[in-house]
């Protein structure tokens, strides 16, 4: 079946570096994409989202890029901090019907001081 997946299971960076977490999706009907951050013992926390009619969206220290041609999504975190250490998930929903989230496998981001 169609799914959303991540390239890197673990990403280790130094504090202050920029981090890029990638996600590939296979459902061309996907219309809305979300990045979630999950800290240990917590639930997924919304970071940023993007609709399929956009290719870039910026938040505070985070940017999401969407390339529909190659079905690729990325999350860029500027000036990564130790508090950014967590598992990051991309999720997608189809363009119609009920709101169901399909999650990718998750990438662990480890930030060293």
């Amino acid at each position: 079946g169609e799914s959303v997946g991540l390239h890197l299971p673990t990403l280790s960076v130094q504090e202050g570096d920029n981090s890029i977490i990638n996600c590939a999706y296979s459902n061309s009907a996907s219309d809305y994409f979300i990045w979630y951050k999950q800290e240990s013992g917590k639930g997924p926390q919304f970071i940023i989202d993007i609709r399929s009619n956009m290719d870039k969206r910026q938040g505070q220290r985070v940017t999401v890029l969407l390339n529909k041609t190659v079905k690729h999504l990325s999350l860029q975190i500027a000036a990564t901090q130790p508090g950014d250490s967590a598992v990051y998930f991309c999720a997608e929903t189809p363009g119609s019907g009920y709101s169901t989230l399909t999650f990718g496998k998750g990438t662990m981001l480890l930030v060293s001081p």
Partner: protein, 115 residues
Amino acid sequence: DTAVSQTPKYLVTQMGNDKSIKCEQNLGHDTMYWYKQDSKKFLKIMFSYNNKELIINETVPNRFSPKSPDKAHLNLHINSLELGDSAVYFCASSQTNRVSNQPQHFGDGTRLSIL
């Protein structure tokens, strides 16, 4: 202050028992969900309720029965617990059940361990 709250946070029980997990949201959302997260952190939808009505029921065993007394609450009852039910169960909510630019908000999970 908590938007989506689940109880209990931890649940340890023996195989064959029946247990319930409760969820409440104070966001005024119409739609609530249950997800299961396995040991590899993979998150998968189980159920979705909109205004107390079941709208999504993924291929989940009949031993799992959600109940929504009102749109702010969605509980999950599990009968005859099995070892494979060990996981973290997350409740979530969203404004409506239709796709749009609205994220789902998650609780902090219930870690269920079957002995």
